[in-house]
Symmetry: C2
Subunit: 333 residues, 2 copies
């Protein structure tokens, strides 16, 4: 966990749906904004160099001939693609060449490779994926959103400790931690959730109780803990519902000439709404519980979204996230 100075990030340039052009554009945007981070761009160096007009001085390259695809089985990607951009980028973190890695690639493969190469923090059974979601008055962090399809109460407890550690740094306040459940009464839910609640109540975690999807965005919780199955269902149902409402909104303003005119007039307010729901503003899910910082960008992220994921990784470097989690967890044991 030694940080090279200045802070250096390894960027997997090849694994996203849109390829390396997005990574070039994101880095250019950040450099233009005066960000002084150094970047190691990992991938097909020749192609990337030739496509990049005016490579910034803070950018260096490491060549990686292979690419992990979205269809690759995680285990195969781990075993066979040892010179893939994703693997090389994570290796750079392990070797201390980079303080964090950002990738828009296959989530399962990223998790498998990161876990194998970086290992988990002592006391953590499995890493989790932590995502940022909008709320009425800000945002919340949810974990796990997909790394662990079934979880024990021990894992849920570990997620709570990790989520609190990360959120306290990223939010700059003592976060309120809740467990995602299907009711607010003690008797509700499955055994894992009930047992985790009992344990959290007597822990040092700032645990505020069960929360349901219907009230999750009201702003009463900063960290929502869930098993990777229901957390992923919640995350994706939110996305699906936003798309559904977006299509209903479009239908409503396109149904006839009068409605189209209304839509034109209301455009500034509708743009305001769009900006607040813009998934790019929340891009960058953290793989937490590893001895190293790995941030997963959405596969189809554009440059603005990828730049957001890079910023999240940078914040986590400043906070030395793995060390923070380690300390919290040791304090709890």
């Amino acid at each position: 966990m030694n940080q090279p100075a200045p802070v250096t990030l390894a960027l997997d340039a090849m694994s996203g749906d849109r390829g390396f052009p997005v990574v070039i554009e994101a880095v250019d945007q950040l450099v233009q904004r005066g960000v002084d981070t150094a970047f190691i761009v990992v991938g097909n160096t020749e192609e990337i160099r030739s496509a990049w007009t005016n490579v910034p001085s803070t950018v260096s390259f490491v060549d990686a001939p292979e690419v992990v695809t979205m269809d690759d089985n995680p285990v195969d990607a781990l075993r066979r693609k040892k010179s893939a951009s994703m693997r090389v980028a994570i290796d750079l973190v392990k070797q201390g060449q980079a303080a964090a890695c950002v990738s828009a690639g296959n989530t399962g493969a990223l998790m498998a490779i990161a876990k194998f190469v970086l290992k988990t923090i002592p006391g953590i059974d499995r890493p989790a994926i932590m995502a940022e979601l909008p709320t009425r008055d800000g945002h919340l962090y949810m974990l796990d959103v997909g790394a662990n399809a079934s979880c024990t109460s021990d894992q849920l407890y570990q997620f709570a400790v990790m989520g609190e550690a990360v959120a306290s740094r990223l939010m700059g306040k003592a976060p309120r931690v809740a467990l995602l459940n299907i009711g607010s009464e003690d008797v509700k839910g499955n055994d894992a959730v009930k047992d985790a609640a009992a344990r959290l109540k007597t822990s040092a975690v700032n645990y505020v109780g069960f929360i349901e999807g219907s009230t999750m965005f009201d702003g009463d919780a900063d960290v929502v803990v869930a098993d990777g199955f229901s957390g992923n269902v919640a995350l994706k149902t939110m996305e699906g519902t936003a798309l559904l409402i977006g299509s209903f909104l479009k239908d409503a303003f396109m149904r006839n000439a009068g409605a189209k005119l209304q839509g034109l007039i209301a455009k500034p307010s509708l743009e305001q709404l769009r900006a607040r729901m813009d998934p790019r503003a929340y891009n960058g899910a953290s793989l937490v519980g590893l001895n190293g910082i790995v941030v997963k960008s959405h596969g189809s992220a554009d440059a603005i979204a990828f730049a957001k994921a890079i910023e999240t990784a940078t914040l986590e470097i400043q906070d030395n996230l793995p060390a923070t989690i380690d300390r919290r967890l040791n304090g709890e044991r």
Copy 2:
């Protein structure tokens, strides 16, 4: 499963958040619309009668001195409140006095009492709750949305068979059945989901594969099967997201005088959107897998919403739903 003629419904008038006035108003609305169903209104007969101006001729009363509250433990409600309106209404179905029961009460208590009194259809381990949700071009049915906090692959399979049976009648077409999962590939998900998928692939069910929350509302599935935990999370996250977007929309159109004017001008289109997302249009979740028809209304339902739940129950009576499920399941065995 003998149906009295004309069709008679038992209405639990006491257990909803808004009490019997909602039930009175819903029945009045249906009678005004020419619905020829007969209603047995169960509850505090004296109070209800005195509050009801012009009781329709199709309405009769059965007195029930007790009420199951939202805080009642399901087991206590089942054991101790044998003269509660909820219990009496379900007893009327068991006795053949009513062809179905509609209640806006405590879901857990309703499920426990209905299961005890009516019993499950042979081959069904546990009943499920099936809810209707909007999609881009229509609607879908999801089950289980909360009766079973953990489910085996056998149960998921039974939910698929039941969901297909109900939806084929309510939709008037051969429904496409999908399993809610956290990815579309075979390797994704927990064991219960993977095993259920393997079984559904070789069954007579019109199974179309895994579906994710992000694409669930695109119109590619008519029945979405889930365990009661993740199904409930999906349902409530949809509700929470709709509320969140509603509040963002309000913020956008209230942020200054110009935006307020835009909102006034766009009001007809925004009302169009509101109507399509109106939860009242989807009120009425069916308890499926029982030897009898029980429909659960949202606790805070108003008269329009409660009337929708009554209409769902009426459709299920016309289709003799328990017999249909029984036949499908026997055909499958």
